[in-house]
């Protein structure tokens, strides 16, 4: 700031100063440090991971012998990998379906002003604000094999499940998968609600007034006014939701550790299992890399739709 003040008082200010003043130079100069940092801590390791996936590198090393696409084909022919890929897709799609419906309904009401809104909103965003690894511990306790409060409520309270042989939520493959889906939906829902609220808030009040004058109320308004205007931001929420769920490691790792019998492994946890626990760094990287084109394709598709929805 001192240097800047002195430059202000010296007419002319020197060539360096004037160059810095021009938009063409100042813009890139302000962006460059952030870009360089990101390239160093994301770009370089990303490139390195791609290199590792083509080698037979083992745990703790940064180099290996070139093996071409062997790691990718080996992973592809492994039944556990197939299961992990399938689970990643199922968990992501199922949880985001729940999230979209829930967020659409909840945000529609939460945008209103009502008494106690601050407190109810606090309760609703708790799952989003809580550190994931800690929140999942809460679920681990709720779904405990012996002392599950869900089983007590369903069994002793409502008589819907057996009290002597209650469902083992984390001990049976299908139930464990359902549990992971529920926890993912629970964790992402508040975030999606917030994005939906942002979308609703950005609809100008003139649109509301115009809709009222044109006689669009109730369902008609929802169908012809609110829904089309909401579509771009709903897609953004969905995009974030898909990326956050598909790339998540914590929920499965803390809740089931991929078990029982690897039935709830997802790509991220399976990559960790192979790359770190088994020490096959190269194959671990290859497994993780299967995720990237998947996410990139989803992103490009979504951004395309979002743009089109926005124009029309």
């Amino acid at each position: 700031m001192e240097a800047d003040a002195s430059a202000r008082w010296s007419p002319g200010g020197g060539r360096w100063r004037r160059t810095l003043e021009s938009r063409r130079v100042l813009g890139p100069a302000l962006i460059a440090p952030a870009v360089v940092f990101i390239v160093l801590v994301v770009g370089v390791p990303f490139g390195w991971a791609i290199y590792l996936s083509l080698t037979d590198a083992v745990g703790g090393s940064l180099h290996g012998n070139w093996v071409g696409l062997d790691n990718f084909t080996n992973a592809w022919h492994d039944a556990n990998f197939r299961k992990a890929l399938e689970n990643t897709l199922i968990i992501t799609l199922a949880s985001q379906a729940i999230v979209l419906v829930g967020a659409a309904v909840l945000s529609h009401y939460l945008i209103r002003d009502f008494r106690g809104k601050w407190f109810l909103r606090f309760l609703i965003i708790l799952p989003w604000a809580a550190p994931v690894s800690l929140a999942v511990l809460g679920w681990l306790w709720i779904l405990d094999s012996l002392f599950s409060v869900v089983n007590w409520t369903l069994g002793h309270g409502l008589g819907l499940v057996s009290t002597t042989n209650p469902p083992q939520w984390l001990g049976r493959p299908n139930l464990a998968l359902i549990s992971v889906i529920v926890v993912q939906a629970w964790r992402i829902l508040p975030f999606a609600v917030v994005i939906f609220l942002a979308g609703l808030a950005s609809i100008p009040t003139e649109v509301d007034d115009a809709a009222k004058i044109d006689g669009a109320i109730g369902f008609k308004k929802l169908r012809y006014v609110t829904f089309p205007l909401q579509l771009p931001i709903a897609l953004v929420a969905l995009l974030f939701g898909i990326v956050f769920t598909a790339a998540d490691f914590t929920v499965v790792y803390v809740l089931t550790q991929g078990g029982p019998f690897n039935s709830t492994q997802v790509l991220t946890t399976w990559s960790f299992q192979i790359g770190v626990n088994s020490g096959s760094l190269g194959e671990g990287a290859a497994i993780s890399l299967y995720l990237f084109p998947l996410l990139a394709a989803v992103t490009i598709a979504m951004l395309f739709f979002a743009r089109r929805a926005q124009v029309s």
């Binding site: 100063r17 809580a130 800690l134 808030a201 960790f272 992103t299």
Partner: protein
């Protein structure tokens, strides 16, 4: 339908929808609260009603205990983890602001048409899963002599806080009228001078929002915190609680739930306070 009935229906329908959602979403935290004060005899008796403090159910303060909560703070590294988490958070937020403030401003004002593309480019960074990055990062961190130190987290965390913060800040800066800056430029202020003296002070609420959310991203992070750090006293809460408070198959549920609930509630209070501003920055960044 009479008008007043309609109004009442409108009002109560809000509670009828929002209420159940709030109950379901907050239930795990309610359950943490109930669990953390339970005595062992009460907690591990499957015949007991879990929702109340047995056996003196109408005098819960005599059948509940705070000893498990005290245990977390007195007998474990938990206070240390909180300190470490805050330390990492503060350093990372500072680094983030140094990089993201100029970048966010430039994307909002100076960069022209490709500024919009940059918003998308920033998002692409999120597509690279941390589970992929940490495979080469782990040996790299070891080579740099940073393994098992908080410095490794301070170095790596900006990789996800900078893109996020740049995006939010871009949204906030766009809401500031260009005229204010033009006026200061006419008055003889340099562009950087007007940035420091005019734009940043006005954006302080937005910057504070970014600070809160970037900080919470650091608290949230699990995989780097879990793999880069191995000594208990060096851990942060997100990796310390699940790894160190569980000994083999033995779970100290009351202590675990206390350790889980406290940071969650603090963060949720912060989020709720800054939520409206977050929404403002979010829409500004993505849709203008």
């Amino acid at each position: 339908m009479s008008e007043s009935f309609r109004a009442a229906l409108h009002r109560y329908s809000t509670y009828l929808v929002v209420g159940p959602f709030a109950i379901v979403l907050a239930f795990p935290f309610f359950w943490m609260l109930v669990t953390m004060f339970k005595t062992n005899l009460d907690l591990y008796n499957t015949q007991n009603v879990p929702y109340v403090y047995n056996p003196l159910r109408w005098a819960f303060w005599r059948s509940a205990t705070t000893e498990h909560v005290a245990y977390v703070f007195q007998q474990t590294d938990y206070p240390r983890w909180i300190f470490n988490t805050i330390l990492v958070g503060i350093v990372v937020v500072a680094i983030t602001l140094v990089f993201a403030l100029p970048a966010g401003y430039a994307l909002a004002r100076l960069s022209g048409s490709w500024g919009q593309m940059a918003g998308i480019a920033i998002f692409l960074v999120y597509l690279v899963p941390p589970t992929l990055l940490f495979l080469p990062l782990a040996p790299l961190v070891a080579r740099l002599g940073l393994e098992d130190s908080l410095a490794s987290l301070m170095l790596i965390y900006p990789s996800f806080t900078i893109p996020f913060s740049t995006w939010l800040l871009m949204g906030f800066f766009k809401t500031i009228p260009q005229e204010l800056e033009d006026a200061s430029l006419v008055d003889g202020c340099s562009r950087i001078g007007s940035l420091v003296r005019i734009v940043f002070p006005i954006s302080l609420p937005g910057i504070l929002t970014v600070v809160i959310f970037a900080f919470s991203l650091c608290v949230n992070e699990f995989i780097y915190a879990f793999t880069f750090i191995s000594t208990s006293s060096h851990r942060t809460i997100s990796a310390g609680v699940p790894n160190e408070l569980i000994r083999g198959d033995v779970f100290f549920w009351q202590s675990l739930m206390a350790a889980t609930l406290i940071p969650s509630v603090v963060l949720a209070l912060l989020y709720n306070t800054f939520l409206d501003r977050f929404i403002q920055g979010f829409t500004g960044g993505a849709f203008r």
